[in-house]
């Protein structure tokens, strides 16, 4: 065999090894993106929720031999208190959806940039939209895949499903899903004070969830709209929706 042929085969061998190495690294990236960001995110978000300065809800009163019954907060339908918008990346609430059985309460923080909020703090609140309970549109975004995927099961939501928000001002806000839709990423009207009608003056207390659609794609957005059903101070107990069964 000539030196030239040796050199050619040697080069091909190196190129092959480089390609195999790139393949292994790409696979490692998938493992990191699809699994490891969930592991890290779930741990971090549980920690954030645990450290929120919530006042304790009334503890269940053991009644004789019967199982302890949680204290249910009476629904209030008067004008709810609405907190001021906090600084960027401040966690000010948690969100829990009983339909997503087994999912923990997720932190909700100010802002929707990925590096500062969505990738590290969970759910993000669109700046300038209403705060929980406010007249207008309390609009939030969250990952549907990866980074602990708080909105992973968004497609399971149906009209009437409760979405429970608990703020650091110690108020429960219970929203009900009214509609779901799939829109283009540029359709900013879905987070307008009156969804779909930018510029109109709101009269209702809405909530809007946005996430990616289809899963693992940035082609469209999955949107869930809801309206405030009732509110209650956390000192009065927990919403019936979180007590299990009732919804």
């Amino acid at each position: 065999m000539s030196r030239t042929r040796n050199a050619v085969f040697g080069t091909i061998g190196v190129i092959g090894e480089v390609l195999i190495t790139i393949g292994v690294l790409l696979f490692a990236f998938l493992v990191w993106q699809l699994w490891w960001t969930d592991v890290v995110g779930n741990r971090a978000q549980a920690q954030i929720v645990a450290e929120l300065p919530f006042e304790p809800v009334p503890s269940p009163t053991p009644s004789g031999t019967l199982a302890a019954v949680p204290v249910i907060a009476p629904p209030r339908h008067d004008d709810p208190p609405v907190m001021d918008e906090p600084p960027h990346a401040t966690t000010f609430a948690t969100m829990q959806v009983p339909r997503w059985d087994g999912e923990p309460a997720r932190p909700v923080s100010e802002g929707t940039d990925r590096a500062g909020v969505l990738d590290v703090l969970g759910i993000g609140h669109y700046k300038g939209t209403a705060m929980p309970g406010g007249v207008g549109n309390f609009a939030v975004a969250g990952h549907r895949t990866t980074y602990a995927k708080p909105f992973n099961r968004i497609a399971e939501l149906k009209a009437g499903d409760p979405i429970v928000v608990r703020t650091t001002d110690n108020i429960w806000y219970v929203y009900r899903v009214t509609s779901t839709q799939i829109v283009e990423p540029s359709d900013i009207g879905v987070i307008a004070p009156v969804p779909g009608k930018p510029g109109e003056t709101p009269t209702e207390r809405m909530i809007t969830l946005t996430t990616c659609h289809p899963m693992f794609s940035a082609r469209q957005r999955y949107i869930v709209h809801g309206v405030l059903d009732y509110w209650a101070p956390t000192a009065d107990g927990i919403p019936a929706e979180l007590a299990g069964g009732a919804s």
């Binding site: 061998g13 490692a28 990191w32 993106q33 969505l118 975004a141 990952h143 540029s186 794609s217």
Partner: protein, 52 residues
């Protein structure tokens, strides 16, 4: 490439395998901790917000 690396590692086979295993683990740790988080924002998926 890997043949060259293998020939230039010192010690008996066991030691060479151990060195390579540690090196591979180190590469993975560096990727998980720094490289992948830096690359991820440039990937064309995972956008969840509406707007520009």
């Amino acid at each position: 490439m890997y043949g060259w690396l293998w020939r230039h590692l010192p010690g008996p086979v066991v030691v060479r395998v151990l060195i390579l295993a540690v090196a591979a683990a180190a590469v993975l740790v560096v990727c998980f901790a720094w490289v992948f988080p830096a690359v991820a924002p440039h990937m064309p998926f995972n956008e969840t917000t509406v707007g520009e």
